[in-house]
Symmetry: D2
Subunit: 350 residues, 4 copies
């Protein structure tokens, strides 16, 4: 085997742990040589857990003092642009968590910088690598259900996002932080861009959670029309409490396809006929997408080694951000919003 | 057992057959003594099949020549108003198929006439009597999933509706003819009226089916906001080809509930590992809602005998029509439409 | 419609109620004109509930004082022979609950008497009429899974059978009272007679239930070899507590088939990710086989009216009893037992 | 991270590939430094695929010329004893595929040799590491379904085993080569040894597959009684054609548990209402037990590094062999066989 790809993990939190675990345990072609996090204790704990030798409080410091070829950026969205640009300018390959950035200008800068420096840019849309989603995509593409007509994609998460991720002044809220995956999934499986969106939101648990920021919502339902005439919806509920739930249903001209199950492990128990059968549900996203997280890291390392473009890159990240922005504008203005209202004029959106 | 309720079945088509079968075979308290249909051959065939002795080409003729206490109206929507009024004015109890009527004025007339003459008016929303939907409703009401926040209801039907049922000049199209059940279901299970709607439609199979009427659609996805702040969607696909599919998913403050399965009979077969397991799907609505159709007829007969109000009557029918009208206006005007734009001013909508 | 078949229901207990309900509500061609039960209060309650006018404490009294064409015998097994003979000799058609009788001589007498008097004899194997079992049988017969090689049939019941039904001196125990259905099912679906059996039994809950009769068991597992070389098993657990569970799995030369689901109603709820999804289970046999109980009564009435032989009659009942006797002998003697050891010599067992 | 455990893979066939893949891609603490196979082409192909540098035609040669700490033995059963002894005597840790050996004397020798030389002996019962089986075992042990009363374990494999594996003169046939896992599973989950067994076998596809060796069978169904009074069955069908199927059902005093699903990937499709829904089935064992194969290798490496005993070792392998021998004796002699008839007298069977 050739040399392993040396990686600097930026962010020692939950996502940083998941990716470190994937690389350390399941991606022999990669190696996490450094970890960056300004929170000293979290950094030491996570780096210690995964045996990561070099630890820094900033990417700048890491770039100066440590040798690596790639970064994995898992920090909050507002930091994506500066970190990705810094990495690209230093010639490092970039794996960037979703959502790509807060706005399209930032997305464009990131795309331009990685292109200019000839480095890989892969977006953290791990559903593309989930064996079920990937098999479904192949089967749709092969025509099994005919031309897709209607798609529904949902992501319901068990817990309350952190304060910055639910405030529209510091992020694009749940539509971005939770539903970015759905924005990418619907475009991927429909093989068409979204043309216009209409969004309704609701706030059911805000008061009980003492959240009084403007425009806070914990339920969202977006109606979609695609450029190819197809329809769709994206829904988000967070916190939903009952589990981590990510499913898609597609109706094509020839049939229907359901991707993902509401139940998890196939261990069914019944001890009380008045209660009924009990089946585990996925509790968390790392559990639901265990293989997907491994396989996206494997893919990143392979792309770097082979010099090939990743299956999911900057354009995909940018379209998801565009959807989020249109979806948000829609509920703020209480009207359907066209993606062309959001996308910069005169730019080709491949 | 006391005397059986004598019923005149108006309409000898598919729905007339289903209801005749229910009464003849499973509702001993009722008796189909007459059948009405202008199509002579269909009338003779269906009446013959179910041993219905008196046969007429119009309700008028039946009222004149035959003794009965109730009518079941299963004819196309445009006939609902005149037939229901005629029956009510003759003092007959009325079971009326969905959709109730073409517009709210007609609904109001029907409601007023049945009230004035003191006869029962039951709407053909059989899902209210489906053991699964009914159990789900009781469990939601009992608080099992907490306050409902988001509901999704779908009805996908295998075949193409008849020409009158897909033309907006003679009916209210698929939203009415197929999705009336969903309009009633979401209001029932959310325990709240719809406040505003936004609709997207698509036409995928029209050309292949040589349909070139204006505004034809075979896919519809409606976004809903309820008066209580909840969200929802209704979707329709017709013809979907793959089966008869009617399912609901509700997320409440405490959990999720799924009503109805995509699979039908529990007979699972695998004979080819490259193909996989095969499970039957419901082919038709009479199959999917077999018990519901029996139980709604039983309920109608019981209400007549006991002089009680049916669980689902004119108000429910009227709200479904209001939803359909708002939903249709939305896609024609490409904007969210409030139910209050549709509902007559100054009328209390209990 | 011609005259209704007049029926005398013998036994006012649980099974008598189920059959009365089926006929009164769902079999317009039949009429329960009389009910027999020596337990006066039970008789009055059940007959009252179903509006059955004539009530007797013995079949003899009913035969003398009331006019009917058929009897349905739902009383404990030891009474089957005398009641069935009395009815046949009086020229009444007989519907006989399982198990047919306590031994093969009794079965033979019942078969002979009903043949001699030219009356219908239908056995209460309602699974033959269950839409799922019936569809499965048709599909197996059509060759869908090829030649059946191995079948497993289970019946687990929630509660403790009555004392007479668990004592080998007054009945043939659980193998007969609970698993008679399985004995019929495996023979039906394998299209072959059982050739030899080997039985293991266990007694787990006897002490807690204060049962100290000899040979009591509450778990049974029978290994089967069929005349056509196929294999199989029958299992019984009673009381199992967790629900009413009746399922079959068959492997044929071309594939596998599963009949029946462990879950009941398709209403799935999750309110706690540490607990998981909850799905109802069938609580009781009348719930699980609701349609089957209706359809077997419809069939009985049709056979009487049309003068045709029922789909499941005396031979089927007799084979099930033979299996029970061989299965019981096997665990008592701790060895495999051939059916030919049980079956009378020189008699053709078609 | 400390030094990696150096491993020699003995056998370059299907199982050797699965384990090599697990270690190379997913067990960073281990390293396959050598591979042994007398079949030169297979050896070169597999070793090449996984980048294994040292290649030998015998374990002897590997021991002489290469430095490693552990062996993984994946060769046909008759070779297990000599290879395991050779490895143990050279002080190498041993991972041994199932079945452990052809007879109990061989098992005892292997156990004694590994004990004497203080090396780890882990058996290839990967189901112990499957997340579903492992979770189920924990839940049973925690009392969730109460005292287990009855267990059914099945393994149906798609293809025909190789000639040596179906001939009782060179192996112990399907009961050993396919159902070894079931023998281990039932003992593990019932927490009790098997006391006696009764076996029926059938030969349905032998003629079509041109197999005319004595006692060949392709269907087997074993009835079990456990020392604690519980009952059970093991079934095997090979070739079953329809997929790889491994499931367990357990009834305890308080309820039922099902482990494993017949369906595989949660991608459900319906394109034809006359056919129904299609769900993938597991095609092969490496697919069904993907995580289990990784986790058992991880466990082996951890045990070596930590000097701890594996969760599943020689005693477990030996009990499975004892079950196989009793089960085989049973069908040859057509009688129930006690395990004590098989087990050497005077040896404590912990």
């Amino acid at each position: 085997m050739s040399e392993r790809v040396r990686i600097c993990m930026v962010g020692a939190g939950r996502v940083g742990k998941v990716h470190s675990n994937s690389i350390v345990r399941h991606v022999p072609g990669g190696q996490v040589v450094a970890m960056v996090d300004p929170a000293r204790e979290v950094l030491q704990a996570t780096a210690g857990e995964f045996g990561i030798p070099n630890r820094f409080d900033s990417l700048e410091a890491a770039l100066e003092q440590c040798d690596f070829e790639a970064v994995i950026i898992t920090t909050p969205t507002p930091t994506h642009r500066p970190l990705a640009l810094m990495a690209a300018e230093a010639g490092k390959h970039v794996f960037l968590e979703k959502p790509m950035a807060l706005n399209l200008a930032d997305c464009d800068e990131i795309i331009a910088a990685t292109r200019r420096h000839g480095v890989v840019l892969q977006m953290g849309f791990m559903r593309r690598f989930d064996p079920e989603f990937a098999a479904a995509a192949r089967r749709i593409e092969a025509g099994e259900i005919g031309q897709p007509m209607m798609i529904k994609s949902l992501t319901h998460g068990p817990g309350l996002p952190p304060p910055w991720a639910r405030d529209l002044t510091t992020s694009n809220g749940m539509l971005a932080e939770v539903n970015s995956h759905d924005w990418d999934t619907v475009r991927w499986l429909m093989a068409s861009n979204v043309e216009r969106v209409y969004t309704e939101v609701a706030n059911f648990k805000g008061p009980a959670n003492r959240i009084d920021i403007p425009h806070f919502y914990d339920n969202v339902l977006v109606n979609l029309r695609f450029e190819n005439g197809g329809l769709g919806s994206i829904s988000g509920v967070c916190p939903c409490g009952y589990g981590y739930d990510a499913r898609v249903e597609i109706v094509g001209e020839r049939g229907i396809m359901q991707i993902g199950d509401i139940n998890g492990q196939a261990v069914v128990v019944c001890t009380n006929r008045d209660q009924g059968l009990i089946t585990p549900i996925y509790r968390t996203w790392p559990e639901r997408f265990a293989w997907a997280y491994i396989l996206e890291m494997e893919h990143f390392v392979q792309c770097i080694r082979a010099g090939t473009a990743p299956r999911v890159g900057g354009e995909e990240g940018r379209w998801a951000v565009a959807g989020v922005l249109a979806g948000t504008k829609s509920f703020l203005e209480e009207r359907p919003v066209y993606l062309r209202e959001i996308l910069p004029v005169g730019r080709s959106n491949a």
